[in-house]
Subunit: 340 residues, 2 copies
């Protein structure tokens, strides 16, 4: 099916109706040249009457840019990519740039295919996102500007924007200490994930700075699920009260919610006996948990917006920069951490 069919009005049709040359129509529609206001108005009127639509393809060929950016996710669309994509689309849309969305699904062949396709289509820039903070293989060098978001590139000469897991974890621990908690436990997700390790490292750093030790028995590593949170609660609640943590930092809100439920089942009250802090500030979890969850917010939507605006600046000829640039997290305090 031909989209540009013979019935579609052309520049010539507009010129004929306005009583001017095709060159004049072109000048008006592209906002170039010195023309009388009256001529301009007549051309615009004719274009509007005929339902003339400027051909974006032709403009792209002439200008050498397509006002299109490729967005290649390294993983299926999930909870983490949604707010990122929202932020990216928001920022690009404000720059009148549209987003070509490709789902690589963590399959290098599929990713390579999409990359070729995006380059053939002459996108002005590229954003690569993933759902984990583990570094991912570089796809560069490319002839266009390129930004990685959330999952950083393994090539430090490229620009990667992530949230600062260390700083976010330090916020969580500092808050637990400020609530008067003396013995802090850490409950992490899957052991091989960067986030499990970084959030532990941030916790250790903040505790060391406060002169508090984190005994290895208070580091529980398992999975990202509520079920694992409940299991961890059973392990913590089973200890004698004197050896039990009174503050727990969980590496995700799902873990934290499961932990809160598990402690409740075991007869340990949150936040009276134990303060709990989660990570992600995922509304579905933090609001439904009883009590509601204090959580670290990684501001994923802001991260997406920032990445897109850095990319836009580079497309317009600015300097892109390089390296992994971590963005600060915030702590949102709710009932689960505040003993009152």
């Amino acid at each position: 099916m031909a989209v540009i069919n013979s019935a579609a009005p052309t520049v010539r049709d507009v010129a004929r109706l306005a009583g001017v040359s095709a060159g004049t129509v072109s000048k008006v529609l592209n906002g170039r040249g010195q023309l009388r206001e009256q001529t301009r108005a007549r051309v615009q009127d004719a274009a509007s009457k005929l339902g003339f639509r400027p051909n974006h393809l032709a403009r792209s060929l002439v200008e050498g840019r397509t006002y299109t950016v490729g967005l290649l996710t390294s993983d299926r669309f999930g909870r983490f990519s949604m707010p990122l994509i929202e932020g990216i689309e928001d920022s690009l849309g404000a720059g009148r740039i549209l987003t070509l969305l490709c789902d690589g699904r963590g399959d290098p062949l599929r990713e390579r295919h999409y990359l070729t396709e995006l380059l053939n289509r002459r996108v002005d820039g590229l954003v690569l996102t993933g759902r984990r903070t583990d570094p991912r293989p570089s796809v560069g060098p490319l002839p266009i500007p390129l930004v990685y978001v959330l999952s950083p590139s393994d090539n430090v000469r490229e620009l990667s924007l992530t949230y600062d897991e260390l700083q976010g974890s330090e916020l969580a621990i500092s808050h637990l200490l400020a609530m008067g908690r003396k013995r802090i436990a850490y409950v992490g997700g899957k052991p091989r994930h960067q986030s499990t390790r970084s959030r532990l490292e941030g916790s250790q750093r903040a505790l060391a700075a406060a002169g508090v030790t984190l005994p290895s028995t208070d580091v529980l590593i398992g999975d990202w699920s509520e079920a694992w949170g409940r299991t961890a609660a059973t392990m913590l609640a089973g200890r004698p009260a004197a050896e039990r943590a009174d503050g727990v930092f969980c590496a995700s809100d799902q873990i934290a919610r499961g932990l809160v439920d598990g402690l409740h089942e075991a007869g340990v009250s949150v936040p009276e006996e134990v303060s709990v802090v989660g990570f992600d500030n995922w509304d579905v979890m933090v609001e439904a948990s009883q009590p509601t969850l204090t959580s670290v917010d990684p501001h994923l939507s802001t991260l997406g917006r920032l990445a897109a605006s850095r990319l836009l600046a580079a497309i317009d000829g600015g300097h892109l920069g390089s390296g992994v640039v971590p963005q600060p997290c915030d702590l949102v305090v709710r009932q689960s951490s505040f003993p009152g």
Copy 2:
């Protein structure tokens, strides 16, 4: 920044290296004309050596199609749009078509802006999605094929694909009756949403077919949250055992999870005393609930794939069809409904 820079190899460069004419190169790269296998191989070899990239824009101008489809969401990217988008992208990608993603955010002006932008960019077709099953205003007629997914168009001459809420609700009720439940309650979401009404209608229909009445006191309408599910549980559990429902169909998994927790708190056991069924089959909710939730699966990803394949067929010249075409749901049975 010009993407097509002077350093990029051209068809002429390839022709020179291969020792053939530019016309021959063009024939090889477009798979046209009668050529010797040896010539074909020599051209492909030269193109590969030079890193020649065919200009997709030029091809689009010649062929009159861009191998691009616009995807306009009427609402922010959420839990319901992501599986839809995944299905759409998957199906289009298999047809070597890329997706231009635009987020209208339910703002008619923003939507109109994106629509103009997509038409100017000569997309081959358009998919419109929303997060609710309420009908949405038509954006047609358009000069390109157009499919609505999940949120149907208010113009029946256009094609809309949705899941069958009535049939899905009938499945839930039939299952509760098959589990030996005699008195069924319905807990709906926000009163003004189509889904709240349709799922009630489906329930009433299935109960009427089985000769069971649904007393108005057993219809509780409120919100889509876990908090509302807990409130509804308190209302149901507060009644004398003889007047209490022994089966509850909830219009979402979040409501169902809150209801299960609330019944537990009130000392009513699920599934021994009350069977509970949810809607959405959202893994985060159905797996974490204790007991795990039986739920209606609307197969959103399949819906997205189907919509994209119908659109592809129409782009290739096939008949698009019209009207609201509901797709069947399935019931996934877990612990919450099976009294054993």
